[in-house]
């Protein structure tokens, strides 16, 4: 098993009147080099699960695996794990601890023992990858930024680690449309060309569903669906029942199909929708 869990249960505040199972008996795995989306309503357990994959929480029961080995409490092993698995937190503020943006992004490469010239190269690359190259904010405190700039810095500070697995918890929240589009292109190219394993938790399936191999769906701490993106998104009614939504273009394709336009409904991006509609229109005219 490359990354996954076996019968993982997580209880917050065990043994108190507040005890609550945030994860119940979760077993799943993702293969190396895959792109997985973790979805589920607010409070379904996405963040809790993601924190286990980085060894930030201790299972109440069950196991968590990375690269065939069980993740345990051993400090050195955890450190090694976190060098290979990079995690972008849901709230950027929870991740920051340096005095300047530069130091924040430089932390990971410095920690790897790279010399300062290499460190600077990595910082510059990461800053460009998140579209901050022209914003001259490297000397600022990470808190002296707009919300979307904080998000970008948080992502950059994990990219600079160049991990083999990238886990991002709701990474597009707060990004402007251009920033979101660039992030998706970046994740796609890291995954396709760079063979980086990617896992993203999100409430917004628009566009990103087109990049994902697999979908894992949580509800109230339980794993309720998991499989190929196309298979899961074909179960639109069940997703709706959970308070979730299909990508908007998929909704449009369903409506068009219902009105008799011969289009396929497993379409998750605007560009695919565009091609599909044009083809259907041309076929119509013939």
């Amino acid at each position: 098993m490359y990354i996954g869990t076996s019968k993982l249960t997580h209880t917050y505040w065990p043994g108190t009147p507040f005890a609550a199972d945030a994860l119940k008996n979760i077993s799943f795995s993702v293969g190396q080099g895959t792109f997985t989306l973790l979805i589920g309503p607010s409070g379904s357990g996405k963040t809790t699960l993601i924190q286990h994959l980085n060894g930030l929480l201790k299972p109440s029961a069950g196991e968590v695996y990375f690269d065939g080995k069980k993740i345990g409490p051993d400090k050195a092993a955890l450190l090694a794990l976190r060098r290979r698995v990079g995690l972008v937190f849901q709230m950027p503020e929870d991740q920051f601890f340096s005095e300047t943006v530069f130091d924040e992004i430089a932390y990971a490469p410095r920690n790897l023992g790279l010399d300062e010239k290499k460190v600077e190269e990595r910082v510059n690359r990461a800053v460009a990858q998140v579209g901050l190259e022209r914003s001259r904010l490297l000397d600022r405190h990470p808190f002296q930024l707009s919300a979307g700039q904080k998000r970008r810095v948080a992502i950059a500070s994990v990219l600079s680690l160049e991990p083999e697995v990238l886990i991002l918890d709701e990474p597009a929240a707060g990004l402007d449309p251009e920033g979101k589009g660039n992030l998706l292109n970046l994740l796609s190219s890291l995954n396709r060309a760079g063979k980086i394993t990617i896992m993203v938790s999100t409430h917004h399936l628009d566009e990103i569903a087109a990049l994902a191999d697999n979908l894992v769906v949580l509800n109230e701490g339980g794993l309720v669906m998991s499989g190929k993106t196309k298979e899961i998104l074909a179960r639109g009614a069940e997703l709706k029942e959970l308070g979730l939504a299909l990508p908007q273009v998929t909704g449009i394709m369903h409506e068009l199909a219902a009105r008799g336009l011969p289009v396929s409904t497993d379409i998750y991006s605007l560009s695919a929708a565009c091609d599909e509609i044009l083809q259907a229109k041309r076929a119509d005219q013939r």
Binding site: H141, G148, E178, L244, I277, K281
Partner: protein, 279 residues
């Protein structure tokens, strides 16, 4: 008087690390009209949150003027009154949640308004119910998921029923159902109680449902108008780093590839209708 918030030539600079000042607002003039739902959008760092923080006197102008319901933000004596008029939901709920129990947190705003206890209880019940939060009533806000926290922060401001509600990206961490509930409640309060609403958002699909929109860019207001009017200028919108709503964008893409479609498609209904009418 038609205008609730009047802003004239507002500038604001942050002092930051490295000793440099950051100009966040560079001469903004704008109005928020009574009873409207106004969307403010623009790229990351364009100045939206900085502008909104002037609406309820969290920031005072570097230069220029901000008048809220006849009261100047520059005059410190007005601060308490202004905060009763304008309720604000912050971009990060952690900056807002003050109590260790959800229901106390939601009651905090109404209590500050000096409402009678019975009315406070009624408002808290209503706000928790409207956003489907009753199950979390006795929980501690910091033991909630991010989406749950965001809803609690919104409930606290809704419960105040101020003249004006300012929401800074209120739906960023909400699931589709939570988003729908927030937007529906905001629209209902606007319609039934005339509450003026300012929505800061990156979601063009949310902007579509507002009466008016403002696009900011580098501390300035670049475009103002009805969403339908502005989204008709696709090239300009894209040049400002923004997008069209999904249906409009699809229509735009189809037209670029040679399909003939009517000029102003904005919603999914309009797109589907025109595609299914075409020969």
């Amino acid at each position: 008087m038609k205008t609730l918030i009047e802003i004239t030539d507002l500038t604001y600079k942050y002092r930051s690390g490295g000793g440099n000042a950051v100009t966040a607002l560079n001469g903004v003039t704008m109005q928020v009209y009574r009873g409207e739902i106004l969307a403010i959008t623009g790229q990351n760092g364009s100045g939206k949150s900085t502008l909104a923080r002037h609406f309820n006197a969290l920031l005072t102008p570097g230069s220029g003027e901000v008048i809220v319901d006849g009261l100047s933000v520059n005059d410190k004596k007005n601060t308490a009154a202004i905060r009763r008029i304008v309720g604000m939901v912050f971009q990060n709920p952690d900056n807002q949640l003050v109590s260790s129990v959800v229901e106390e947190d939601v009651a905090f705003g109404p209590e500050n308004l000096g409402l009678p206890q019975a009315e406070i209880v009624k408002r808290v019940d209503w706000a928790l119910k409207s956003l489907d939060l009753e199950a979390y009533r006795y929980r501690s806000p910091n033991s909630l998921s991010e989406g749950q926290k965001q809803l609690v922060a919104i409930a606290g401001v809704l419960a105040m029923k101020p003249k004006c509600i300012v929401l800074d990206e209120p739906t960023a961490h909400l699931d589709p159902k939570g988003k729908r509930e927030v937007l529906e409640n905001v629209q209902r309060l606007n319609r039934d109680e005339g509450i003026t609403t300012v929505l800061l958002t990156h979601s063009m699909n949310e902007v579509v449902h507002c009466d008016r929109m403002i696009i900011m860019d580098q501390g300035l207001i670049k475009l103002t108008g009805a969403p339908r009017e502005l989204f008709a200028q696709a090239e300009q919108i894209k040049a400002l780093g923004l997008d069209l709503p999904a249906a409009a964008q699809l229509a735009y893409g189809l037209k670029l590839k040679g399909l003939t479609l009517p000029g102003n498609i904005l919603t999914i209904e309009e797109l589907v209708a025109s595609l299914c009418q075409l020969p």
